[in-house]
């Protein structure tokens, strides 16, 4: 363990730690551009200069590329180092345009921060700046090459880390150009990370340009709800609209990055067509009126047909809180059935995975990255868990063998950022006793025997769930012996359903009475339900999700529910009695337009109370340990709390 002194502070770090990281560990940020913890060292920008006063090396050194060694005495504030950094920043700024006011990066720009930190405030250079033609890079990313400071972060990420081949660096010397051979959408499904990784505004998020500044945004730690990997994100909201979504570091899940689906697929959150008003028999009503009516409807149905003819239907979209309260509600309703899956195959596979996995065999991301062999079992990794492809790529680059078992060569397989060998069965994967191997498969719609066979191989397991919160749904389905809706319908065991964020296909509904529907999205259920209770999405609610490896992660409300201010229908602020101009709003109101939505689990709690029960805090009993989950932490694998099977 090297011991060194940085700015008079004694520091002890792990061998191999750079001086830059060692300084960061004691709260000293050395300015840097090309350095990024997730990428290989380039030492291209020369900004992180420090002076070594004593020890094995002396003089000005680049702190990012200098491993900490015993006896080093480092000064980040030595006049010589300060001068060096000031000159470096000045030369990096030579060609950079003075366009911060019209640059979307302004306010969240590393170049701005470190230019100021470097003490460069007055331009001496009077010459011509080099300029470039920008390229069209697709609908996600805007390209502005003139701002480039040649740190090579983008190409190191895109090519080395994410395995893309259609973006790179051309030219030489002062003409280097970062782009594509020809204009066109970037092919990598991780291209959006260029926005996060560029230290200035060369790549900005086209889907949210010029809407707000960094200081305008409302943030909260959040968890992506697109697949069961559970990547950590940070939605940036402005005036009730999710403008951008950026990656949030969690080394146990997604590292620094997120996939393009997590980043760009957000229009549904802001959709003005999203159902936001509670409705009773087709007419808008107050939320409590709708809840009362739903409770009454449930009570009447139970009285008439018996509770066992009623099913409360959730889905893998529900938060863990919602799933727990769904079971409570069923109990209060006199023992109604509860469904977490509508498809029998999905429940079977999902449950089997939840049962099979335990602390020893459930793979951590590190296990994937450090595996000697990885077997992908008949899955479309880019669809079911794109970020894991980057973990597999790390293993591949370190020499691991990758196999695709029983794959039907799905078209998406072509874009996998690693090479693999296709084999027909798991038996053909050459491994002995599992040692440092990982099997990755999708759990939904898989034969439990097949999953058990994989588990018996001795390899670490990744069983991707069929929905974002599928693991939690499986745990709850198991605990409450839930039967998938399709089976109940086939056996004619139910006559009525109440749906909570459930995507029930129309064919299942044909012979069912839908008493009420609580959701934030439109679907087949909506048309059949006389009572509609709008719920909040993950962006507007607090909640907990359990990812494929059993990791419980808390997400926080990142903004209030309601229609985005942009494009708001004038009916919400116009006067009924006099004609007024559209802007600014003339009539003030205290409630948020379209903001009646409630979290699904709170709706359930209110129904429980209306039905004469007492709604318990979701995290009580065996779930109590999840009460104080830190949304900014790494999450907790439920096995550690004895919550798994």
């Amino acid at each position: 363990m090297p011991k060194l002194i940085i700015d008079d502070i004694p520091v002890e770090v792990a061998p191999g730690t750079s001086v830059l990281e060692a300084a960061r560990s004691v709260g000293i940020t050395i300015p840097h551009f090309c350095y990024h913890p997730a990428l290989a060292i380039a030492a291209a920008c020369r900004l992180c200069a420090v002076k070594l006063l004593d020890g094995p090396v002396k003089g000005i050194q680049m702190s990012c590329a200098l491993p900490a060694q015993d006896g080093m005495v480092v000064s980040t504030t030595d006049p010589e180092a300060l001068k060096m950094r000031a000159l470096v920043i000045e030369w990096l700024m030579l060609n950079h345009p003075h366009d911060c006011p019209v640059c979307d990066e302004g306010g969240e720009c590393l170049l701005q921060d470190f230019t100021i930190a470097g003490g460069h405030s007055r331009r001496r250079y009077q010459g011509k700046k080099r300029t470039f033609q920008n390229q069209y890079l697709g609908e996600g990313i805007h390209h502005e090459m003139n701002r480039c400071i040649e740190c090579y972060r983008c190409v190191r990420f895109y090519r080395d880390y994410a395995g893309g081949t259609d973006f790179g660096v051309m030219g030489s010397a002062g003409r280097v150009y970062f782009g594509r051979f020809q204009e066109g959408p970037l092919e990598s499904p991780f291209s959006g990370n260029l926005v996060d990784i560029c230290p200035t505004g060369v790549f900005t998020d086209k889907t949210g340009r010029f809407r707000a500044r960094y200081w305008d945004y409302q943030f909260a730690p959040s968890i992506c709800q697109h697949c069961s990997v559970g990547c950590n994100t940070s939605p940036q909201n402005f005036q009730r609209e999710t403008i951008k979504i950026v990656g949030r570091r969690n080394d146990q899940v997604n590292g620094w990055f997120i996939c393009d689906r997590a980043r760009f697929d957000k229009s549904y959150l802001n959709d003005p067509q999203r159902p936001r008003e509670p409705r009773l028999d087709g007419a808008t009503c107050g939320y409590d009126v709708a809840v009362d009516a739903a409770a009454k409807s449930i009570a009447e149905f139970v009285r008439k047909n018996g509770a066992d003819k009623l099913a409360l239907v959730g889905s893998t979209r529900l938060s863990l809180e919602g799933m727990i309260l769904l079971a409570q509600l069923a109990e209060v309703a006199g023992g109604a059935k509860v469904c977490y899956f509508d498809d029998a195959g999905q429940q079977q596979g999902s449950l089997a995975a939840a049962k099979l996995l335990h602390e020893e065999n459930a793979a951590y991301v590190k296990d994937i990255e450090q595996a000697q062999w990885i077997s992908l079992h008949a899955l479309d990794l880019m669809e079911e868990g794109p970020m894991l492809a980057l973990a597999v790529r790390k293993a591949f680059l370190a020499g691991a063998q990758i196999f695709l078992v029983a794959g039907d060569m799905l078209p998406a397989m072509k874009v996998l950022p690693f090479k693999y060998t296709a084999v027909e069965t798991l038996d053909q994967v050459p491994f002995e006793g599992g040692g440092k191997g990982v099997i990755i498969c999708g759990a939904g719609s898989k034969d439990p025997d097949l999953l058990a066979e994989m588990a018996s191989s001795g390899a670490k397991l990744v069983m991707l769930q069929p929905g974002p919160n599928g693991f939690a749904a499986a745990l709850l389905a198991q605990q409450h012996a839930a039967v998938p809706l399709a089976e109940l319908v086939a056996a004619r065991q139910v006559q009525g359903v109440v749906c909570f964020e459930a995507d029930v296909p129309e064919m299942l509904l044909s012979d069912l009475e839908v008493l009420a529907n609580a959701d934030w999205r439109r679907g087949a259920v909506e048309a059949k339900a006389p009572i509609f209770l709008p719920t909040t999405t993950w962006a507007e609610s607090d909640g907990t999700a359990i990812n494929y490896e059993g990791r419980a992660q808390r997400f926080e409300r990142s903004r209030v529910a309601g229609l985005p201010l942009k494009g708001l229908d004038p009916k919400y602020y116009g006067s009924a009695t006099e004609a007024v101009s559209l802007h600014p709003p003339r009539v003030h109101r205290k409630d948020v337009p379209g903001g009646a939505e409630r979290d699904a689990w709170q709706v359930m709690a209110q129904l429980i109370e209306r039905l004469g029960g007492e709604a318990l805090e979701p995290f009580s009993g065996k779930w109590r340990a999840l009460r104080n989950l830190d949304p900014e932490g790494e999450g907790v694998r439920i096995f550690e709390m004895g919550l798994g099977e």
Partner: protein, 157 residues
């Protein structure tokens, strides 16, 4: 489209390399000799031959100064503007070439004979100032010598 014979010989060249990438410069030079310059089509053909993406070929093509990604004249003049030649007053020679040919740096003469580009050191520091014309190196340049060289090169095949 390149002729089948050229394609076959380039495939053989790529096959004989330990990694395809190391044959990239040879392939680009051959294609450049065929087309006169490395056209967009040629970049894509090189990519297909080498098993790289067109961008990966473009990265190499734009890095090397003797791979031309724009049309050039029959012979390309590379005149050195690096440190040793600069000490030997290459600026005067460059200016002379510009005036004589009636083009700026990067320009091609109206008759399509010469393209003038600066280059960064050909290893002829001992004979500075230096240039190469159509691949033939010339040193210890004077305006008179430049006249002679250009005249001779104009008539050489």
């Amino acid at each position: 489209m390149i002729p089948e014979t050229l394609k076959t010989s380039l495939q053989a060249r790529v096959a004989s390399a330990i990694t395809a990438r190391e044959a990239a410069v040879d392939v680009m030079k051959e294609l450049q000799a065929h087309y006169g310059w490395l056209t967009d089509e040629a970049v894509q053909e090189a990519a297909a031959l080498l098993g790289l993406s067109p961008l990966q070929v473009e990265e190499l093509a734009t890095f090397y100064e003797m791979i031309y990604r724009r049309p050039v004249g029959k012979k390309v003049i590379h005149v050195c503007d690096s440190i040793s030649c600069w000490c030997a007053d290459c600026d005067k020679i460059i200016q002379y070439l510009k005036d004589k040919l009636g083009v700026g740096l990067g320009g091609t003469t109206a008759d399509g004979m010469f393209t003038l580009v600066p280059c960064c050191c050909m290893g002829m520091c001992g004979d500075s100032p230096a240039m190469s014309v159509g691949g033939v190196p010339y040193g210890r340049l004077t305006p008179e010598l430049v006249d002679e060289i250009l005249e001779a090169e104009r008539h050489k095949p």
